[in-house]
């Protein structure tokens, strides 16, 4: 499939959606203004754990311009709790605290006023009397029976705990020449889009219909919203054509949207709820995985890693949501790109008095990849083996695909050794070593990092039944519709929102490829939730595979209809003709043809010329099941998680300033194989962005809490997002191993760069520290962390 001659796919083409953003005419939620629209201000708990004794809104309501103040009591009476992804029916989570505030920043009351400024003034006038409780902030302590549970009805702070054993783990550990154990720590960070979350809600009394414009990237959003608001799904119309200012997983906003919908319905006027940055960081419920890995590896003298025991403890914050499931996706790539014989995996999710987590790019795979790569480096160090050599020995080879891993997923395709070799060549690895050694000789702390990591893609939801046997989800379909109008113009309708991934370009390119029409002439629309076909939104690196595949499916139906109409017009059998550029030509004499224009006119106006049984008009929809989907986990928890596996190998050079601990990165090279790229500029863009995001997670970004559960990094002054100074010039080396499972051989790439970047940077830092006899397996490795660590050695010397 690699050698397919594509017309539009894989070619450099300008993305369709860019132009409106360049002109400043994108329409984001904040830009929506409806006459009569009111604004929401939020009252947040200053305590991380406190009983709410009373709320007095009198002074707030007395302020001119204030319409309403609602509290947890109103919400409990008027809405149903949000569902968690677990079988834990006693966990209750409402959009406003229901009697107990469980983290600092949790919304306690909401004010609706004429303007946002008045709403904020009024929020300050709401008097809340709290009875502070003793917070639990350490995830290991939270597990102890001594720790009071955040959710007493649930009975414990442990939300989920399960151990799976895949294969002969104990035997492999006993038989191996060596064993190591260590702890790796991935601290809490997130994707933190530059646009905060916002939602505009409008209740139409006459139609009994709630219109919603939200900056979302959220599967099942309207179903869940309807359920919480106690209205049927067909009473909610979510407008998926709102531009979303970045998400990378976190823009779920169900909480915000339930509150907005409740307020709009209750007041009968449009209501806008727009987080400010401080609300976003603290009360936006969008922080990421916060994970302690206890890793054990068993391996032989030759460097072959035989077996792993992984215990992952995740601090999911005050409420469950979908966060525990982020421990589930890594099951599908639990041993990375390596030939490991058996694996034990224990996943534990606990509540603490911190901001709840949301899905973050990779859905738990980036922390897991960091732990796995650290393991590989530790094994190499233990054996005195080169870090490259150990990877070469353990990487699955190209002739071993499809490759079944112990936890039940089959990797579709890959050529890891070739990608690694190409990356080494492009990085001029031997020169890098010389450069590092020269820098060291000059007294610098210099290191080279490498990582070889997988990007599972094609977002299925198999972790749902794995973590909750009552949930029998085995499909996460995606749909696409193509319509051709009477004059031949083409529209593709996708069924979800988009947040920068270039889906309009993707759908137009695929439709153009199949129908052999110029993608620039094809318009792509986003349906709303009422007109949409069943779809699951752009999560889990799935749209190239799923929207691409569904659009290809719809395109092929159109092509078949066009061909049949053309054959009938020529008075010959279908197999006597061929589809060419939208026209239909006689195979034996291509000069005899029926043009696209003539065919679409027949389809729309001349029923008498249509093949028998064909519907008039020219439109087709296709609903695609995730390739390899359709099965539940077996009794041992083996499951095919995602269908496709992209691969990335990073090589990065780093120097650490001995005094400040500041890490300078570059040159940075990444080899990437995500099969056939639909639009290379878009794939490359996401890869560069993923690496920048990985640099943040590895070196700068952390939601830091003090012992009382107060967030210490809730602004852009202290939660540091890499700028153009911190992100080096990255070189991408492409490789293409097509997936056998997808329409064009494409795999997903939305998580590229982020899934291997942090591991590579951590590896470089450790290489740089190695002459000092230091090592660290904790991210982020901020300047202060590294500075302090280096000082422990340097102080001894002086």
């Amino acid at each position: 499939m690699a050698e397919q001659n594509f017309r539009y796919i894989s070619k450099k083409r300008r993305p369709k959606e860019d132009r409106r953003f360049l002109a400043g005419s994108g329409v984001f939620v904040a830009d929506i203004a409806i006459p009569g629209m009111l604004h929401v201000g939020l009252v947040a708990s200053p305590y991380s754990f406190a009983r709410i004794r009373s709320i007095n809104a009198e002074a707030a309501l007395a302020l001119p311009g204030v319409h309403l103040v609602v509290t947890g009591e109103d919400i409990v009476a008027g809405t149903d709790p949000m569902m968690s992804g677990l079988d834990a029916p006693k966990l209750r989570r409402y959009v406003l605290a229901d009697g107990i505030a469980r983290y600092a920043g949790e919304w306690v009351a909401a004010v609706v006023a004429d303007t946002r400024a008045i709403a904020e003034d009024a929020a300050e006038l709401v008097e809340v009397e709290y009875e502070p409780l003793t917070p639990v902030t350490d995830p290991e302590q939270a597990m102890s029976s001594e720790s009071p549970p955040l959710h007493p009805e649930h009975g414990s702070n442990i939300l989920f705990q399960k151990k799976w054993v895949w294969g002969t783990v104990e035997e492999d550990f006993a038989a191996a020449d060596h064993r190591i154990a260590f702890r790796a720590r991935w601290h809490r960070s997130s994707t933190v889009p530059i646009e905060t979350f916002g939602v505009v809600s409008q209740w139409n009394q006459a139609q009994q219909l709630l219109d919603v414009w939200a900056s979302i990237q959220m599967p099942k959003f309207h179903d869940l919203l309807g359920r919480a608001l106690r209205v049927p799904g067909n009473a909610i119309r979510v407008h998926y054509d709102v531009d979303v200012g970045g998400s990378y997983g976190v823009k779920r906003g169900l909480k915000h949207s339930i509150l907005g919908g409740y307020l709009a319905k209750r007041l009968g006027v449009p209501v806008k709820l727009m987080e400010d940055r401080l609300e976003n960081m603290r009360g936006g419920d969008a922080q990421g995985p916060d994970r302690i890995f206890d890793m054990q590896a068993a391996f032989n003298n030759d460097g072959m890693i035989r077996s792993l025991k992984i215990r992952a403890l995740d601090d999911c914050g005050a409420h469950a949501g979908r966060a525990p499931l982020q421990l589930g996706k890594p099951v599908g790539a639990i041993c990375g790109p390596y030939k490991v014989n058996s694996v034990e995996y224990e996943a534990i999710s606990v509540t603490t008095n911190k901001t709840p987590q949301e899905a973050v790019r990779g859905f738990g795979q980036a922390p897991t990849n960091f732990a796995l790569e650290t393991m590989v480096d530790r094994v190499a160090a233990h054996l005195g083996m080169d870090r490259l050599e150990i990877r070469r020995r353990n990487l699955i080879t190209a002739d071993q695909f499809p490759y079944l891993i112990p936890s039940g997923s089959t990797y579709d395709s890959g050529d890891f050794h070739t990608v690694l070799d190409k990356t080494l060549t492009a990085a001029t690895y031997n020169d890098l070593i010389k450069r590092r050694d020269a820098a060291r000789a000059a007294g610098k702390l210099a290191g080279i990092g490498l990582s070889t990591c997988l990007e599972p893609s094609g977002g299925n939801s198999a972790f749902e039944p794995l973590f909750n046997p009552k949930n029998e989800t085995t499909t996460w379909m995606e749909a696409s519709t193509i319509k051709v109008d009477p004059f031949g113009a083409i529209v593709v309708i996708m069924n979800t929102s988009t947040s920068g991934q270039g889906h309009e370009t993707l759908a137009a390119t695929v439709a153009g490829e199949i129908l052999e029409r110029d993608p620039d002439t094809i318009r792509v629309l986003h349906a709303d939730s009422l007109s949409a076909m069943p779809s699951n939104s752009p999560v889990g690196s799935r749209m190239a595979i799923m929207l691409g595949g569904a659009t290809a499916g719809a395109g092929k139906k159109i092509k078949a209809s066009v061909t049949a109409i053309g054959a009938k017009k020529l008075g010959v059998a279908i197999d006597a003709v061929e589809y060419r550029d939208g026209n239909v030509v006689l195979r034996s004499d291509p000069s005899k043809k029926v043009s696209w224009e003539v065919i679409v006119e027949i389809a729309h106006r001349k029923f008498h010329e249509l093949p028998e049984g064909m519907e008039p008009g020219l439109q087709a929809s296709f609903v695609l099941e995730v390739p390899t989907g359709g099965t539940l986990p077996d009794a041992t928890g083996r499951v095919q998680m995602y269908p496709c596996y992209a691969f990335e190998s990073h090589i990065v050079y780093a120097e650490i300033d001995r005094v400040t601990g500041q890490v300078t990165l570059g040159p940075y090279t990444v080899g990437h194989d995500c099969g056939v790229m639909i639009n290379p500029d878009i794939v490359h863009g996401m890869t560069y962005g993923g690496i920048a995001h990985g640099i943040g997670a590895a070196l700068y970004e952390r939601f830091l809490y003090d012992d009382t559960g107060q967030l210490l990094s809730g602004t852009f002054m202290d939660y540091l997002i890499p700028s153009s100074h911190e992100v080096p010039d990255v070189k991408i080396i492409d490789h293409c191993t097509p997936s056998p499972l997808t329409a064009f051989g494409q795999k997903g790439s939305g998580e590229a760069g982020y899934l291997g970047g942090p591991a590579a940077i951590a590896c470089a830092v450790n290489d740089a520290l190695s002459p000092l006899g230091l090592k660290i397996a904790e991210l982020p490795m901020t300047p202060s962390v590294l500075g302090d660590l280096i000082a422990t050695v340097e102080n001894k010397r002086t």
Binding site: R14, P15, E17, D18, R19, R20, F21, L22, A23, G24, S25, G26, V27, F28, A30, D31, A33, A117, T191, V192, P193, I194, E195, T196, D243, V244, G245, G246, S247, Y248, D276, R277, S499, G500, Q501, G502, D681, I682, H684, G685, M686, T687, Y688, G689, G690, I691, A692, H693, T715, F716, M717, I721, S723, S724, H725, V727, D729, V730, G753
Partner: protein
């Protein structure tokens, strides 16, 4: 809250409006003048999404009150090219795909346009310096640097000039 009359020249057009003393310039542009191309990402002066050209300088419009801008001349993203067209810089952003979600893009365009106004052939380092006060979470900056370089070349005639109608 006291209301103040404000007159501003934005993108060559004179606007009059009312602002309370505490209203920021970015809120005035977005909410009163409905020029929503300028965005807000932090409202505390770090992200650069609210960048505009104020009397020839790139500034953060979340850090200035509307009343302080009375009488000033301002360019926002909507004013970088004639309506319906793209400037050379905008066209180069399109050519290199220097954006994804588009949220930081107006600020990036303002920052890089101000650079190019002063420095026709900036180095990579100068470009990175010029956009370092603007955070982008999507692109990792690489294609933005490429776009500004390409624009500099085109504006200097080192490369075939493009039609600016995109």
């Amino acid at each position: 809250m006291s209301e103040h009359d404000i007159t501003l020249k934005v993108n060559g057009r004179t606007y009059r409006g009312k602002a309370s003393a505490r209203m920021t310039l970015v809120d005035f542009l977005r909410d009163e003048l409905r020029l929503t191309g300028t965005h807000t990402g932090c409202e505390h002066g770090v992200c650069g999404a609210c960048s505009i050209i104020f009397e020839g300088q790139a500034i953060r419009s979340c850090l200035m009150f509307a009343v302080q801008a009375d009488g000033a001349s301002i360019t926002t993203v909507e004013g970088l090219a004639e309506p319906g067209t793209l400037s050379v810089l905008q066209d180069c952003f399109w050519e290199t795909h220097a954006l994804q979600c588009g949220f930081c893009t107006p600020g990036m365009l303002i920052a890089s346009q101000t650079l190019l106004d002063k420095n026709r052939l900036p180095t990579d380092e100068e470009i990175r310096e010029a956009i370092s006060g603007n955070l982008c979470r999507c692109t990792g900056y690489k294609q933005i640097v490429d776009a500004v370089k390409l624009a500099a070349q085109r504006l200097s005639g080192l490369n075939a000039p493009v039609k600016s109608d995109g």
